[in-house]
Symmetry: C2
């Protein structure tokens, strides 16, 4: 007879990331893509990688190629802990778990903290990859009111947070909006979560990519026992190594380590040693400013193009860091329909709707500017401007 593969309910509910599906279309070289979330390969420290890879294989080949502890390579855990310890806040290495990319941290969080129907709080909108990872464990999402500065803490009460398994947010240059949460909001959010007894999950892949201003204190530094922090080397070294980390109180981290053991035993020993060697001697602090200034210039270029080409009914933010600009279209314009027309003209972006846990707003979209050369930014934004003008002209006149 025919073999019958009965899928789990969670598998039946799985859908592919809208972004990855779009990315497939946009692999054609003639497409100008503002869709990707890929860092610019111009920022990859290839020479440094050669140097440290050679060193690892010369000095510690057997350990680099052997199985390792689930928690991660101890010297790397210690380096991360030291880097996150500033001001009064000391992060012990025993709170650090190395993950196979930051995405794995999200999967482990879901496994360890979400039961079917558990309440999980997120920003509006939020990172799609997190929504996907958590969804496998069937939580009930609640999306908190948010504006250009992140979660609106004014008017939010501890009662509204209470009972949630955690509140997930990206305070620095959020994916997809590029927005940063100001200091006062951070303080208010930490106080609210603390009053409600609800853990905060601070996802921070973009924190190092500030274009100019001072870094703001992490939520972790404000309440180490109340925050699970997630970081990544994908945006400051290279994503192809899949190297991220989670910082959490020991009793939660212990469970995440057990879940990771079942998930992939441990993150590749080889990548961990390469990253450890790569960041030594202050390299990372010499390298990051080059990424920042490239991204700042790219962002400025796109902002100028938007100013020039987009109709006045469209609005967007001015990011202070990171990789994304978030665009608000007039009510009634559907960015999904816009994308179909844009792809016909070889331009791509990501519609905003999939980033909403509930009540998707179809009149939003995300633009990534970091990998596209200036003249292609100009050409692509010009096409989008033309299409938007046509869409807006076709809207029924307001009553």
């Amino acid at each position: 007879m025919t073999t019958s593969y009965t899928l789990s309910r969670r598998a039946q509910a799985l859908t592919s990331s809208a972004i990855r599906e779009i990315l497939k279309v946009t692999e054609r070289p003639e497409v100008i893509s503002f869709a990707g979330g890929l860092p610019s390969p111009a920022t990859f420290p290839v020479e440094r990688m050669r140097e440290v890879t050679e060193k690892v294989l010369r000095e510690a080949p057997e350990s680099a190629l052997q199985y390792g502890p689930t928690e991660g390579f101890s010297p790397l855990r210690e380096w991360i802990a030291a880097r996150l310890s500033h001001g009064g806040a000391v992060v012990p290495a025993s709170r650090v778990l190395i993950t196979t990319g930051s995405q794995q941290g999200l999967d482990l969080l879901g496994k360890v903290l979400i039961d079917e129907g558990s309440k999980v709080l997120v920003e509006t909108p939020s990172y799609l990859g997190a929504l996907q990872a958590f969804s496998l464990f069937a939580p009930q999402f609640a999306s908190l009111p948010s504006d250009a500065q992140g979660i609106v803490t004014d008017g939010l009460s501890p009662e509204q947070l209470a009972g949630a398994r955690f509140l997930y947010c990206l305070p620095n240059f959020q994916n997809p909006t590029g927005r940063r949460m100001p200091l006062e909001r951070r303080k208010a959010l930490v106080a609210l979560a603390d009053a409600a007894g609800v853990p905060l999950v601070e996802d921070d892949p973009y924190g190092e990519l500030s274009y100019g201003g001072e870094a703001l204190p992490s939520l972790l530094s404000m309440n180490p026992d109340g925050v699970i922090y997630m970081g990544s080397f994908s945006k400051v070294l290279a994503p192809g190594l899949r190297l991220g980390y989670v910082v959490a109180p020991e009793h939660v981290l212990g469970k995440m380590i057990q879940a990771k053991q079942a998930a992939d035993l441990h993150t590749p020993s080889f990548s961990q040693r390469i990253v450890y060697e790569a960041v030594q001697g202050g390299f990372i602090d010499r390298h990051i400013p080059a990424i920042r200034s490239l991204y700042a210039a790219q962002c400025e270029h796109m902002l100028a193009a938007l100013e020039r080409e987009f109709p006045k009914q469209v609005s967007w933010n001015r990011p202070e860091g990171g990789m994304f600009i978030w665009v608000d279209l007039p009510e009634g314009v559907d960015s999904g329909a816009l994308l179909a027309k844009a792809i016909e003209r070889n331009v791509a972006f990501v519609p905003g709707a999939p980033f909403y846990a509930v009540n998707p707003r179809k009149n939003t979209l995300r633009l990534s500017f970091v990998t596209v050369p200036g003249e292609k930014i100009d050409a692509g934004v010009k096409v989008l401007g033309e299409l938007l003008r046509a869409e807006i002209a076709a809207l029924p006149a307001a009553a």
Copy 2:
């Protein structure tokens, strides 16, 4: 107030692998450890790794360090598909998913095929890491009668398999027993599963490690649409790269790809390219025989020591490949208690009980011989022999 971390029910049920806990104890250099499942670092092709790593960073640094497709690096998928295609069976590359170690394949299987309470069939005993990975999704295990040749197919009826989400087995040099399933049993099992409409999951990390005899046909080759096959580079190149793969019919693989996207986006691009380059030009087929003959000699050494030192009431198998020997102790001897005494004398092994999905047999243990030098094998087995003699002498006389 204090932040309250409410663990999911699955996290509450999580326990650490008995093996990894034992391994921590046995990291002391004075301990003779037969506990690990680590391949011998003497088999790691360090020179080859240097050569191909350098090549990857010279020829394709930007792709090797960038994000990649969730399915994996296409040329590597094609290479794996071609290697698995022999006899009449052709495996298309579209059925291959690259995973972050074979362990990740187990996690993805659990996510995609197991609901709470789903029936999952396993061998008696079975691989502990699989039991752990599946357990997160709360199946109901049924453990099939097995002997020194694997699952006993005589007397097994399709009705006993029916309704299971899948039957998980390791036909080649199984972890923990080292046993191999003979051809007739393979044929019978494939026919039974087919008659019951139940998918087989064939986990095959050790298939290449046959000491001498012909390789036996895979279950996959006997029924490509009825088998999910899992392979790994951990035992033939190096485990520190965490490179495995799953082969499954497209509609199942598609769901596993979506689950993988949420789990870690993709397996490190860098490792995938390194492995792809490493296996080229017939290298892998020149390299594997060296591993085989090392392990065969190590195995022979341990078998001789067991013959010499173990009391006659104890029995064990003679593996034809792989990394493990399985030992049966007389009824009433508890290998957990034996381990405590052995560790006091600086010898370690893994008790057999955790490898049983149900009804653990405490009078069993697993010995790994591949990393221990000959004279330490002699010394360690001598200690175990002495302890066993004392345990057996202390047993109450048979009625």
